[in-house]
Symmetry: C2
Subunit: 327 residues, 2 copies
Amino acid sequence: MQSTMHTSVTTSSVPQPTVLVVGSGAVGGFYGAKLAQAGAHVSMVCRSDYQQVRSKGIQVTSVWGDFLFTPETVVRSVEDYLETPDYILVALKVLPEIDPVAMIRAAVHPETTIVLLQNGVEIETPVAEAFPANQVVSGLAFICVSRIGPAEVYHQDYGRLVIGRFPSGVSNQAQLLGDLFNAAGVACQVTHDVVTARWQKLVWNAPFNPVSVLGGGVDTAAILGCPASARLVRQVMEEVCRLARAVGHELPSTIIEKNLADTLTMKPYKTSMLLDYEARRPMEVEAILGNAVRVAHRESVPVPHLESLYGLLKLVDLRSSGTCSGP
Amino acid sequence: MQSTMHTSVTTSSVPQPTVLVVGSGAVGGFYGAKLAQAGAHVSMVCRSDYQQVRSKGIQVTSVWGDFLFTPETVVRSVEDYLETPDYILVALKVLPEIDPVAMIRAAVHPETTIVLLQNGVEIETPVAEAFPANQVVSGLAFICVSRIGPAEVYHQDYGRLVIGRFPSGVSNQAQLLGDLFNAAGVACQVTHDVVTARWQKLVWNAPFNPVSVLGGGVDTAAILGCPASARLVRQVMEEVCRLARAVGHELPSTIIEKNLADTLTMKPYKTSMLLDYEARRPMEVEAILGNAVRVAHRESVPVPHLESLYGLLKLVDLRSSGTCSGP
């Protein structure tokens, strides 16, 4: 089945592109499923869950309503996918041992838009450099979702998306994707400045994710309830704002107060990094802290609090995973 | 039995003062025992181990040779000690909930020298202010020693002391105490500048103690083996040196390199803070980090790495002990 998105003649009011999801974890499974609900032709690359997903699909248990998602095609690796995808949706963890370029290369055609639904800052660069002729759409997911078993995803809370053409600007491909998500009930904001949106998300992620792990496994309420750690959170946020400004992405002056106030009013929250740590999964230390620290060195911006968290998390990672790698 | 230290007539070549040890943990038990071996008349205030110590003394298992220490008097609280001690040896943990002034007041006579064998910086101030007429001797123990059961102390490694009159200078009382320790085989350096010695020890303690806990329970070799945390150690050491200079205690320019080199050559070492954390005992966060951070604020010296460790450790403490207290 070929995409109809590039033609003006279509049988449905919403075009139905082909989407290949790479990364069969909770994020890829959930958002792939939502795109399928909106009418897209969604296939999946599944390694560990291949048999289960192929035989019975992915069961999504969701606060928005449970449903079963049956991908059009399920393949073990991207080399086995023989169509030309309109979109490749990359929902891989950002880890030194995972090379997204190698994992998608075989399915990248000239007309393919590469969508990166991943955490961190400056994570687009390797993909954008490897495929200079392809459009890259960068995206941020604000969601609590986890894989609770083979081919089973549990969507616990939230779910909105912010996506945008990388490095900036508007595009039909980003807009169509946003329309599909919105049609499926996922609030998706299409921005012309997605890099700023990444720095904006880092204002929250850079302090709360590491501190939740390093503080001994604590939620947001505990972190903000202890004056010494609440001060640390604010100082890390200030460093992220300075860093964003240094690379040309000035953030709103109220962003820190707003983040702190919002966090105080939301129910106590365990960060995704803490959930990874507790489940003994690798943490996205490099995407969330390492890349920011490297930007700081490149731009000569002092970020001592960020560096402290980075040094400690690398050590925790060393103990959990037995390696102390990092770019 | 009254002390003979203030008389020139004595039956032994080494004067035999009376010493009251307050704090019946491993440090107090061990060094009290060594003073008794040198001939001092040593009594102990024991709360939890009172019955055991009174009936059978303290069993010291030591790399220097095992021995049994039988205090002259064992009391449940300082109020029950009716003699006039030449020395009160305070070997209490430095914790917000422990008030050394209240715990020794009843036994402090005009001629009593108060010896503080405790961790941290600026820990002498409350005692010196509460007893302005008494001499305070401040001391640092470089030792691996732990309480392995009621009235049982295990001396695993090291053991040297640095002591000196507080805030500075020489005194007969400090010298006599040093002579007693040396007579018992404890290498004890008597310094005229003990406050500088405290800052010097903090150069090692401020990074390694917190990082060993926050890094997920790691020893010195692991900390220095990971480039990101080794860098953090160095940055914390630099801040401690700047802080010491700001309060008039300039440290040798080679101290950081020497500390790092020495730590790399010694066998992998678990810090006392990590041992406390693993045993779910309270950690000396305020003595080792809190006081240093407060000095930094008072003197307007930026210490962002120290502050980061402090904020995180307070949070860990909150989780372990259920409080987030602190001066």
